[in-house]
C-alpha cells in the first residue's frame, strides 16, 4: 500500500495536513443578527458600599440612627424585606464595614454590593464556530478533525469573562514569525502594526525574499491564520475574533531556515514586539536560534511556540526546537480538542511543553479563496492519464482517494507505456489574485534521468507544456511515499491559467509512473473575506500568544516573567495534560487575570 507521509526537516506545524486533506475555505455570506455587547468593567463588588439586613423588629428610625452612628450614609431601602443600601464612610472598605455591622445587635446580616458581569459576547458572525473561545458543545460545520466534534460545553479558554475586563491588546505588539500575513484581510487590516515611522510601511518584513513586504507571495495561508487567532478584529460584525479584539500584529515572514528565522526574531525584538509567536519547529538543536531566544529574553520579550504535530514526547522520543529550548521567557503549547483531550497529533513533554490550548477545527482568517480539484471534471487528459479513486495508507487506511494517475491502472501497480508524451491539464481563473500558488502530493516511479514527470503552467491557457508554458521536471522514485509538490503561479494570474502534469518516457524500460492527489491552488486576495478551519499545535500556540498580550495589556506593570507565570499558573488543571506538560494546565484567560504572584522582597526591621 502506498503511504501518504509528508516529511520535511523544518516545518510549519499545522497547516499542511489541513490544507491537503480537504479543508475547504468558506466565503462569508450569511449575515446573522447583530448581538449587543453588554460590558461592565471593574471589580466584583462595589469597594465602598454594603447591603445591611436589619432584624425584623428594628424600626426605621433606629436603622437610620445605626447607620449614622457608624458615620456612613443611608442610600436607599432596597425592598420591603429589610435590606438597606449603605455607603461607607471615607477610608472604610467593605471588609471593615462588614466586621463593624456584624457586631451590631440590630443587624441580622450584611453583604457586599456585588457587581454582576454580563459576559462580553462579540458580534462576529463566525463567533459561534469558535469553540476554543466559547465552547457550547457546538458542532464545527467545516471540521477536518472528526474526533470529539461536537465537544463538551465549557471546555474553552473562558474568554467571555476575561473580555469583560479587557479586550484591547494594542499596547503590546505581537510578532507573527511565520509564512507571511495577508494584512489586507478584512478582519486583520485594522489590527496590524504600523511600522511606517520606523521605515516599514507594510506592517513587518520578509526575510524569505528579503524585502519589506510580508505578504505571502506563495499564497501559504498559515501565517494569516495564526495572525487571526491572535487578533482578528473582534466585535466588528464580521468573520471571527481574535483572543484580542484590538491588536497590533507585526508580520514577519521567514523562510524555514536558521538564518531567516533568527533575523526575523531579531527584527521583532528590535522593533518593539513584546510577544512573539512561532508556530514552527525543527528536530535538530540550533545554537544560533537558541541565542536569538536568549536575545529576546534579555529584552523582556515573551516567546510562544508550538509543540509539534508528530504525537511524540519531546523529552523522550525526539526534541523539537524552539519548543525544547530552556529559556524561561519561552512557553511551548500542545493542542487540545473540543473535549479538552490531547489532540492525537499533538506532541507533549513534562519538561519541554508547558500548557495546552485549543488546536483542532480552529477557524481563522485565510489569505483568499482556495481552489481544490479532484480531477473529475474539466481536465484534458491524453495518453495514459486517468482520473481514478485509489486506496492509500495514511496514519491508518484512508480509503479511496481521488487521484490523477498515469498509467490508468496505477492503483494496481501497472506500468506506464514506452514512448509516452502524455499530459493532463485544466484551466483556472486566477485573475483576481494578488498571489497564487499550487500545492499537491505525488507518488513517483520513473526510470531515473530517462523518463520524466513534469508540472507546468501557462498564463494564456491551452496545453501548458506547449510554447509559452513554464515547465519543471523530475525523475526517479519516492519509494511508495507521497511527497509535497508546488509551483509558484504568480506569473499565471490571468483568467486563463492552465495548470497540468506530464509523463514522458523513452523506448526502454518503464516503471509505476505517477499518482497525484490533493491538488489545491491557494490565492491571496485583496480584502480577503475568507476563513478556514485548520488543525495543529500551530493553532494552539497563537491562542496563548494572544492571551499573553491580553494579560500584559491588563497588567501594564508586568515583566515578561510575570506574564509567563500568569499564563502557566492561571491555566486550568485538566486530566489530559497531567504528566504531559510542565503545568498540567490548559491556558485560561480568566484564570490568568485572577492569578496574583506571591509578594516578594519581604523584610522586617525593628524600629
Amino acid at each position: 500500500m502506498r503511504k501518504i507521509y509528508v516529511t520535511r526537516k523544518l516545518v510549519f506545524t499545522g497547516a499542511i495536513a489541513g490544507s491537503f486533506f480537504g479543508a475547504v475555505a468558506m466565503a462569508v455570506s450569511v449575515q446573522l443578527p447583530v448581538r449587543q455587547v453588554k460590558s461592565l468593567t471593574g471589580p466584583s463588588y462595589v469597594a465602598d458600599e454594603i447591603l445591611v439586613k436589619f432584624k425584623p423588629d428594628v424600626a426605621g428610625q433606629i436603622k437610620a440612627q445605626v447607620i449614622e452612628r457608624h458615620g456612613d450614609r443611608h442610600i436607599r431601602e432596597l425592598t420591603s424585606n429589610g435590606y438597606v443600601h449603605v455607603k461607607l464612610r471615607p477610608g472604610y472598605g467593605v471588609s471593615q464595614g462588614m466586621t463593624l455591622y456584624n457586631a451590631d445587635p440590630n443587624i441580622e446580616s450584611v453583604q457586599p454590593n456585588y457587581i454582576y458581569h454580563a459576559l462580553a459576547v462579540p458580534n462576529d458572525t463566525q463567533y459561534g464556530q469558535m469553540w476554543g473561545l466559547k465552547n457550547t458543545g457546538q458542532t464545527i460545520a467545516t471540521a477536518t478533525y472528526p474526533t470529539n466534534n461536537p465537544g463538551v460545553a465549557g471546555q474553552d479558554m473562558d474568554m467571555e469573562a476575561a473580555w469583560d475586563r479587557v479586550t484591547d491588546c494594542r499596547s503590546i505588539v505581537v510578532a507573527v514569525v511565520d509564512s507571511g500575513v495577508n494584512y489586507t484581510h478584512q478582519d486583520l487590516a485594522a489590527n496590524m502594526w504600523d511600522g511606517t515611522a520606523a521605515g516599514y510601511p507594510n506592517h513587518g518584513y520578509d526575510f524569505a525574499d528579503n524585502d519589506n513586504d510580508p505578504m505571502p507571495q506563495d499564497a501559504n495561508g498559515h501565517g494569516t491564520h495564526v495572525a487571526g487567532t491572535i487578533g482578528a478584529a473582534g466585535n466588528n460584525s464580521l468573520g471571527t475574533t481574535g483572543v484580542c479584539w484590538q491588536a497590533r500584529i507585526m508580520a514577519v515572514r521567514v523562510a524555514l531556515t536558521t538564518a531567516a528565522i533568527t533575523q526575523g526574531v531579531n527584527f521583532a525584538v528590535a522593533r518593539g514586539a513584546k510577544v512573539i509567536n512561532m508556530s514552527l519547529g525543527g528536530s535538530v538543536y540550533d545554537a544560533a536560534f537558541d541565542a536569538e531566544i536568549t536575545n529576546a529574553r534579555n529584552n523582556g520579550v515573551v516567546v510562544v511556540v508550538a509543540a509539534g504535530n508528530e504525537a511524540n514526547n519531546n523529552d523522550v522520543t525526539s526534541p523539537r526546537y524552539p519548543c525544547n529550548f530552556s529559556q524561561n521567557n519561552l512557553i511551548c503549547v500542545a493542542a487540545l480538542d473540543q473535549a479538552y483531550a490531547l489532540a492525537t497529533f499533538s506532541n507533549y513533554g513534562t519538561t519541554s511543553v508547558d500548557v495546552g490550548a485549543p488546536g483542532v477545527n480552529a477557524m481563522s482568517a485565510w489569505p483568499g479563496p482556495t481552489i481544490t480539484d479532484d480531477f473529475t471534471s474539466g481536465w484534458t487528459l491524453t495518453g495514459g492519464f486517468a482520473a481514478v479513486a485509489c486506496d492509500l495508507d495514511g496514519p491508518g487506511p484512508l480509503g479511496p482517494v481521488r487521484m490523477l494517475v498515469n498509467p490508468a491502472n496505477w492503483c494496481a501497480f501497472g506500468l506506464y507505456a514506452n514512448n509516452a508524451n502524455d499530459v493532463g491539464y485544466k484551466t483556472f481563473d486566477l485573475s483576481g489574485a494578488l498571489h497564487a500558488g499550487l500545492g499537491f502530493l505525488y507518488f513517483l516511479d520513473t526510470q531515473l534521468n530517462v523518463d520524466f514527470a513534469g508540472t507546468a503552467f501557462k498564463s494564456t491557457g491551452g496545453d501548458p507544456f506547449g510554447a509559452g508554458g513554464v515547465i519543471t521536471e523530475t525523475s526517479g522514485t519516492t519509494n511508495n511515499f507521497a511527497v509535497a509538490g508546488s509551483a509558484d503561479l504568480n506569473n499565471c494570474r490571468t483568467a486563463t491559467c492552465s495548470v497540468g502534469f506530464r509523463l514522458r518516457s523513452d523506448a526502454t524500460t518503464t516503471d509505476f509512473g505517477v499518482g497525484i492527489l490533493g491538488f489545491q491552488i491557494d490565492t491571496v486576495q485583496s480584502n480577503s473575506n475568507v476563513y478556514q478551519v485548520l488543525n495543529g499545535t500551530s493553532m494552539a500556540s497563537p491562542h496563548v500568544a494572544g492571551l499573553a498580550a491580553l494579560i500584559w495589556s491588563y497588567n501594564p506593570g508586568y515583566t515578561d516573567s510575570d506574564v509567563v507565570n500568569s499564563v502557566k499558573n492561571g491555566g486550568e488543571s485538566i486530566a489530559a495534560l497531567a504528566g504531559r506538560t510542565t503545568t498540567g494546565r490548559a491556558a485560561n484567560a480568566m484564570g490568568s487575570l485572577r492569578f496574583i504572584n506571591p509578594p516578594s522582597g519581604l523584610a522586617a526591621s525593628i524600629q
Binding site: 471589580p43 466584583s44 472598605g93 501594564p556 508586568y558 487575570l593 492569578f595 496574583i596 516578594s600 524600629q607
Partner: protein, 126 residues
Amino acid sequence: MKIRIYVKPVYAIVLMTLLGLAACGGGGGSGDSPPPMLSSVLVTWTANRETAVNNPGGGYKVYYSSTAGFNIASANVIDVPYAAGATPTSTTLSLLTGTHYIKVIAYSTLNPAGSAPSTEIAITTP
C-alpha cells in the same frame, strides 16, 4: 556612647508605661519577673505588579506567628488595603519579645482569597 546606653533603658520604660502595662496584666512588675517588651517592627515588601492589587478592593494581608512554617489560616493577620489612591507596601507590627515569623499575601477583587504566600521571614525582637 554613654548617652546611648542611658537612653535605651529610659525608652523601654516609657514604652512599657504607655503600652506594656496591659500586656503585663495590669499589676505591673512589683515583685514579679520584668514585663515583656513590645517592639515596633516595620514590615515592608515589594509592590505587586498586578493592576487589580493596586486598585480599589485590592491589598495585602500580613500574617505573623511564633511558629515557623505556620499556616496562615491560624495566624494573626493585618489587612493592608488600597486606600487614598494607592496600596501600601508596608505595615508596622507591635511584637512581643521573641522570634516571629511573617509572610504576606496579595489580593484583589478578582481574587479575594489572594495569592500564595510570600517566602516566610523571621525576626527576633528583644
